[in-house]
Amino acid sequence: MNKNLKMIVWLAVGLLGTFALSTIALNRGESINALWLITAAVCIYAIAYRFYAAWIAAKVLVIDETRATPAERLDNGRDFVPTNKWIVFGHHFAAIAGPGPLVGPTLAAQFGYLPGTLWILIGAVLGGAVQDMVTLFFSTRRDGRSLGQMARDEIGVIGGTAALVGTFLIMIILIAVLGLVVVNAMKHSPWATSTVAATIPIAMFIGLYMRNIRPGRVLEASAIGVSLLLLSVLAGGWVDHNESLRVLFDHEGLPLAYAIIVYGFAAAVLPVWLLLAPRDYLSTYMKLGTVVALAIAIVILRPEIHMPALTQFTDGTGPIFGGKLFPFVFITIACGAISGFHALISSGTTPKLLTNERDIRMIGYGAMLLESFVAIMAMIAATVLEPGVFFAINSPAGVVGKEAVDAVAKINSWGFVVTVEQMNQLARDMGESSLFARTGGAPSLAVGMASIFGSAFGKHLLALWYHFAIMFEAIFILTTLDAGTRVGRFMLQDMLGNFNKKLGETSYMPSVIFTSALVVAGWGYFLYIGVIDPNGGVNILWPLFGIANQMLAAIALCVATGILVKSGKLNYAWVTALPLTWLVTITTTAAYQKIFSDDIRVGFFAAANDLSAKLTTGALPADKAAVAPQLIFNQHLDAYLTLFFVAVLWVVIIDMLAVCKCCLKGKPVLPLSEVPHSATQLNDAWVRD
């Protein structure tokens, strides 16, 4: 294509994107078509990828195609292997995309569709994708070293330790909140519970199949597994209609939480091949298949978005979680906009497969854009619901009342239309006993997906689509839970190994059991508190997770900024310093409000004090009074945890600034740990394309 034509095409993309974005932002009418969101997203991603990412690659990082990557230099046929770029992209995307981008946007939709959408787009393009890309680059230049190691090498011991401790704590909170999402999806739903339960023996069977029956036939085993999973959704419906079977799977939240805790422990102790590995395969296929199907359905169907652009809850009175638009929309949507967790994949795992530095833009920046797109689709699935229905499903009983009539009256008083009959009909359509107060985001996402799939591929199957969506969410939430518990165990063993050598051995069974139990107890505690909390628990845990995840992102950006300054690229350091400044602002503000706010729905201490005052005056009903002491303790614990996160973050920032200052003044700093240049020998056409 000649140059002028190219310019015209990009100009058209730019104009279309601007037009779509202004349509989204300025629309104050009844509803807007979801296609505008998709159009705006695709145009913004395309322009950012073509210009911003390319500029970062060429000018800021100065990608060197002639340089041999660690995969080439250290090729051992195992973890270091030069790999086709599409394959690396696939592995990288499968590893970074978890349930986070599905849950966050759903919760943030309480502010309306606009704030979350803008943050997902801008945050990904200027923050998240940049973080993933620069981390991937710096790790590639350092033999694929992990974020923690890079922080230690480049900034100092404090930075390295902070990254390690931060990762561990995020893991604990992440698993707890994801466990809570699954529990809330299974509560009093025999269909969902039996389907999710069935995924465990299915995964084990596939594990045995791949290991013993037909060793290494991964695709064959996966095909069988996926068919069995689909069958389990059908079987769940059958269980639901069978009076004697359904009582076996009809449970309150607490027994389900205990079941998840026991399961999590078993999964961490059992060998990987039996449960974790096969489950990971199945969930990856499910995830990719469902995301692609959802995208196709949205494009075919072009659903209308019924949620207003902004709701009155931007003032901080929202039912799903308390807190104003700033900073809480930025905390609630972490994955999908910017996620610190990705830095762990971008360093360590992916660089060891990279054939040429040229591919860093596509893999680091591109995969994050795709994840951001998944978040946009989750936003669409949440906002195509009638707002009244959305709030009825997502508002906890502690806010709108336990009885359906009270909940409906309360939601109507906010100006959102919904009736008890409408909700009952919806629950019947979806094959559930009730859809009121099903917090956590999974049920409302499933209703949204079921209605989109239902209209695109057949309406009479709504209940099946709903439970398919629940199964799809549950299976990869449980995968994250398994894998996270295991990683937490490894980290803990690594740390304890400094004190007692025996405890550090990953195959020493008493140590395995002890450390797994500690990790499970950690997240099990938060899961338990979340389940007994009448406000649903998600409103506490999710912001905590958001703050932790953004903190890790800030640490990754700190390391990157430090390296840029040390490499004499002060003029370009804003590329990472800009998102870093924003993250520090939002996490610090959010943490400040979570600790010191007088609003009992925001401030941890305010909530604790309010609860203990009510407890002493006897204003609480008996069932709430029974759990109040535990809730009060938990509010205090959460406050100190938040304080700890912010303290860690500021320590790393000050450390980084000190290093930069020394460097700019010409004083000695830790040397750059970049591996020296060696020319690539690969005529890489065969691996790359």
Binding site: G77, R78, D79, T83, N84, W86, I87, G90, H91, A95, I96, A97, G98, P99, G100, S146, L174, L178, M210, R211, N212, P215, G216, R217, V218, L219, E220, S222, V272, W273, L276, A277, D280, Y281, A334, C335, S339, F341, H342, L344, I345, G348, T349, T479, T480, A483, G484, R486, V487, F490, F545, N549
Partner: protein, 67 residues
């Protein structure tokens, strides 16, 4: 049309296999033949089952999943 689909499939299928690890053993044998052929008598390549075990265990060290 049919031919195009066939070509497309021919291009996609090896990728799917590699992404999933379905062909990991074949790739291992190739790597072995290329780099360690001189060891053939001392240390023959692993069998499919033994290799798969090693591959799977190796894959699960470290962070593999995000949020």
């Amino acid at each position: 049309m049919l031919k195009k689909l066939k070509n497309f499939w021919r291009c996609i299928w090896p990728m799917v296999r590699q992404l999933s690890g379905d062909d990991a053993y074949e790739r291992y044998l190739k790597h072995y033949a290329e780099y360690h052929a001189e060891l053939e008598n001392l240390e023959p390549p692993l069998g499919r089952e033994a290799y798969f075990k090693q591959w799977q265990d190796g894959k699960w060290k470290g962070v593999r999943r995000c949020c």
